[in-house]
Symmetry: D2
Subunit: 367 residues, 4 copies
Amino acid sequence: MAGSTFGTLFKISTWGESHGEGIGVVVDGCPAGIPIDEDYIQSFLDRRKPGQSEFTTMRNEADKVKIMSGVFEGKTTGTPISLQILNTSQISKDYSNIMDVYRPGHADFGFDSKFGIRDYRGGGRSSGRETAARVAAGAIAIKMLSYLGVEFTTYVKSVGEIEIDYSKFDKDEIMRNKLYMPDKEAAEKAGRYLESLIESKDSSGAVVELKCTGLPVGLGEPVFEKLDARLAEAIFSIGAVKGFEIGDGFKAAASKGSENNDPFRIKDGKVVKETNHSGGILGGISDGGDLVLRAAFKPTPSIYQKQHTVNNKGEEVDIEIKGRHDPIVAPRAVVVVEAMTALVIADLLLQNCTSKMDNVLKIYSCN
Amino acid sequence: MAGSTFGTLFKISTWGESHGEGIGVVVDGCPAGIPIDEDYIQSFLDRRKPGQSEFTTMRNEADKVKIMSGVFEGKTTGTPISLQILNTSQISKDYSNIMDVYRPGHADFGFDSKFGIRDYRGGGRSSGRETAARVAAGAIAIKMLSYLGVEFTTYVKSVGEIEIDYSKFDKDEIMRNKLYMPDKEAAEKAGRYLESLIESKDSSGAVVELKCTGLPVGLGEPVFEKLDARLAEAIFSIGAVKGFEIGDGFKAAASKGSENNDPFRIKDGKVVKETNHSGGILGGISDGGDLVLRAAFKPTPSIYQKQHTVNNKGEEVDIEIKGRHDPIVAPRAVVVVEAMTALVIADLLLQNCTSKMDNVLKIYSCN
Amino acid sequence: MAGSTFGTLFKISTWGESHGEGIGVVVDGCPAGIPIDEDYIQSFLDRRKPGQSEFTTMRNEADKVKIMSGVFEGKTTGTPISLQILNTSQISKDYSNIMDVYRPGHADFGFDSKFGIRDYRGGGRSSGRETAARVAAGAIAIKMLSYLGVEFTTYVKSVGEIEIDYSKFDKDEIMRNKLYMPDKEAAEKAGRYLESLIESKDSSGAVVELKCTGLPVGLGEPVFEKLDARLAEAIFSIGAVKGFEIGDGFKAAASKGSENNDPFRIKDGKVVKETNHSGGILGGISDGGDLVLRAAFKPTPSIYQKQHTVNNKGEEVDIEIKGRHDPIVAPRAVVVVEAMTALVIADLLLQNCTSKMDNVLKIYSCN
Amino acid sequence: MAGSTFGTLFKISTWGESHGEGIGVVVDGCPAGIPIDEDYIQSFLDRRKPGQSEFTTMRNEADKVKIMSGVFEGKTTGTPISLQILNTSQISKDYSNIMDVYRPGHADFGFDSKFGIRDYRGGGRSSGRETAARVAAGAIAIKMLSYLGVEFTTYVKSVGEIEIDYSKFDKDEIMRNKLYMPDKEAAEKAGRYLESLIESKDSSGAVVELKCTGLPVGLGEPVFEKLDARLAEAIFSIGAVKGFEIGDGFKAAASKGSENNDPFRIKDGKVVKETNHSGGILGGISDGGDLVLRAAFKPTPSIYQKQHTVNNKGEEVDIEIKGRHDPIVAPRAVVVVEAMTALVIADLLLQNCTSKMDNVLKIYSCN
């Protein structure tokens, strides 16, 4: 119950279903005095909106965000910021082929078992559409973090077995191709692979990678709200994620201590690390290195091939999924990964403000 | 701040440092009426206690648990269960070589930056010793889950690049070898590998795998407290974890929808899945299949080689770590992974009790 | 920060300002399968809407609620229920006389000190209008509780020094007079008193009383989430409340143990209490008696007399408050007290479902 | 479930029963760098320890506190501070007269209904002894607040119908008499009244009052974590409290706006209030005035008169309570009220640190 709230100080509560009135989010705990407007938030939503290319669903949603509260004269007021995106494309459809059937790879069976009732229209609450609300909230977190010099670069690292070549990494390329990949050649190759999958009514998995620079040292609360623990939860709360790594990730399991330890050095009077196997986190606390994380997305479960499954009457049936589905989740999920990462960092950055008495005294002596 | 509490209904709060008075945990929200005694909890602690073999630290800790509250006449009373393990081996030592030095791969630098003060004795709060408290709490969760038929099998899947062979999987073998591996040959090979690392003053990473059977369908709260999200957080809160997977994990990212979807079938009147690529979770909710998860552990950062690093005065220095350190984290972490998994499941299982009004009416009509 | 969320399992998050786009609430954790519609919720909102009589502000707000999510085919689905009430009367006004002035008795000074920015239009977030969102959420809690036989009677007990006479208590009268008092004569007397206050540009305090029958025994979580503790918090979160009592309240402080203890008896095979000095709560847990609570409301701070105060430039100034203000808070607050009480009970009733293992087994054995 | 945790940032989790191994508390989220030692905490515990006078139970408990973690070289480290008080006087007793009987005015019936099992020895978890853990935690909060100039004066305002005379208020007198009253004459009169009650095997209620000076403006989080709402919860979580007031409290309900509003003024360049009917809180936020709160305590329910009640077999029985019981709760509760108030203020003071972006920038620019 009550699983739609995330965060301790920078806290969000999302709502909404794929084909209901709309979706939205209440952001509570955002500090007062940050300039926010709808255009700014919209620019993030546009990165995940449908209809961008042949690799994203053709659903015709403008995904226009509206600020309902918490912003006054262009600035956050410290009170809850309510954001909403009305559904415009939830035209009455024929759901008879899925309303009582459990689609393979989907949450239908779980929802019915759990709640005894399910809004089957377009996946209802379990639709990926729910993540638009997170992106809207994440945009505010990203704005807040920008004042502290924290910046994000997020992209698709691999599609199926096609990986980017880091020697060809071009940050500007990310926003230029349809797959949000930083390597033009890999993007083209992946595009051709996806076209072949569309033809065979299939779909592909992918890996999304994020780098974050400028993170203050000291973020993350031992022992259960470690920075990596909170990030793992945040990223795994995105539908279709099946794996998560920080820094060297699973490769570290095959490594030796003498290789994996990052030596500390002094550079320009600051403590730095020579290497970054840790991915910017040691002992659950940001260590001054760049944060590096990866999320493995499974292939879109909605494929157009005929599939064998069961219905809610306990009968085995065939199903042919119709509608508008992406052959790959990851490109539109790039900005979702970025948003969830920013929400975690914003929350832990605020929590860290009171880690030592000196900080508290600093606040109140000047009040 | 305040990061040492975990869970919503089945909630734990841990405390303690490696070389202080002791460590402990308060378990709040455990239902009343469950038989618990110290011997039972001790049996779990013994699986992670030091000194089990040449591959675990020789620190001489009995790790004896004492129940301080919450159990009356052999049963839980519904009030907080306080468990504590006094430190017996924190004999005064010479910490002069590490008290002002930041050990590579450790949280020392992060703690100092964050708090401005650090209990440097044996790692203080960031010591792996802290996980003993989680194991004690987890034992209670496992007991509760056993009444519902939920069972765990947890083991080391790989050491460095040495993996188990599933065709030789022998559950009984897990408790027989020093590395908690279910494949005798792999365990022997891994043992020889670790001996060579000890000789070269090095350490190894590893992967721990867990299978859980008997999980009720419907556990996990959309959208932020999904079963996999909560598990990811729980496992990543264990020190040294750098990667986490459910089911096919990263392999799913290279897969196709037609391969990755698990077809539903009816078997003995029950909905079952033909395959289990999902690892028992769909849309963040348990799907009736076995839960399968994996955690990648980095190599123990405390190695005996001379390392270059910095101290808290901003100087570059050499460090030679002394003391008693495991050449591999994973074998003793097996029971920690099991404990954290059980804590998450216990919490979500209780939360799920009120997912539908029918359940609520069932409780109160019979009260 | 983040103070707009209330509850653990039955959780609400409210948003909105008096003269912004609107106000709303997200209800998360409501069990699935409860019939809810807008007309039902509206009937509660109508009890607090403006313009009901000469004793309530003439602001012309329809306060029409819209269900944005979480209800499908007329029933709750277990996912977040988003409710919103758009502002229709926030016509551009001249706020120049209050925008930089701290109204006595109001939160203006506190908000400015805390946030450095304040939506001054109609009180912004600190307006009593915010409670409409709570009433909408509370209506759902009341619906849920009705299935368990829990019922509420809430009314104004006193206006200024005019108290109801319990010998003339008439439950039906409550909804018949403008002041929601259960004693017609007292209501008429109070009405005349309020008319005189309106004439003298003044306002009155009042006491609201609530009785709740049918509460299951055992609600309330020792030691910090006691039923009375949670109620005290809930009622004191309503603006203008300055006092709170359970049962005999402050009278108990002048009493003796031999008078205050309620003897237990057996009646029809059930444990009952002979008297109810406790107000239905012992040791923080519902004891089977009727829940009785009282809230003291201060007089409306917005009075039309000229008042001396300061502005945000640090100058002393005179202020004459304009606009539409109730000469008494309590009548419209009656339903707010009822809503907040219901939200607490709903939350603790769900929490209590897992207090003993027998309950948990009952749920899962029948799943 | 899980009701033994309190607070968001400055968080405490208590455990323990009256006659078990001991009681304790884990304080998590206390900023690092605050000097704390056992003697300091002990001085607060001594104010509530048994055996101080003929008006407190003769139970022979030293109530010696031990710091188990979280303090290193005399200072808090930012990690959980575990405090424990072992029970020394829980000598095996004959509980046969109460083990299956529900004492009037006690939580026995509620606990049995809720949990199905109850540690009946001395009240178990529902014993007032549990509050010693809160006092220990509160001492740390008070220490933290002292650095910001926040100070507390807490005392018994009335015993039965005997009230202090404010014209004779003497702060130093509080610690000199056995009843912690600031008026010597009233204390003597109350003492004689209590002696008469002891003779008639009866007990008395009382009112405790607290004043807190030096509170920064701006504490309290709208709308559910208002300062007064959190205080109401905190104080009502203390056993035997039946009423709570801020400032004028219930008197405000009989007042007029023109009397109740506190005019703002400028004094020495600071915004101040001419009067303090508000008790230091407006709109849930500290307003710069002294915080004034009152708690009504019911008479001790354990009286030595023969009482009629029921047992857990559903039979009506007579009970004569034995043991060691205070004829009045309030004197020993004075320090508990102070501790709970300080815990709330400490928590909200930390939360307020991030209310505006300027504060956040202040922290990180200097880090």
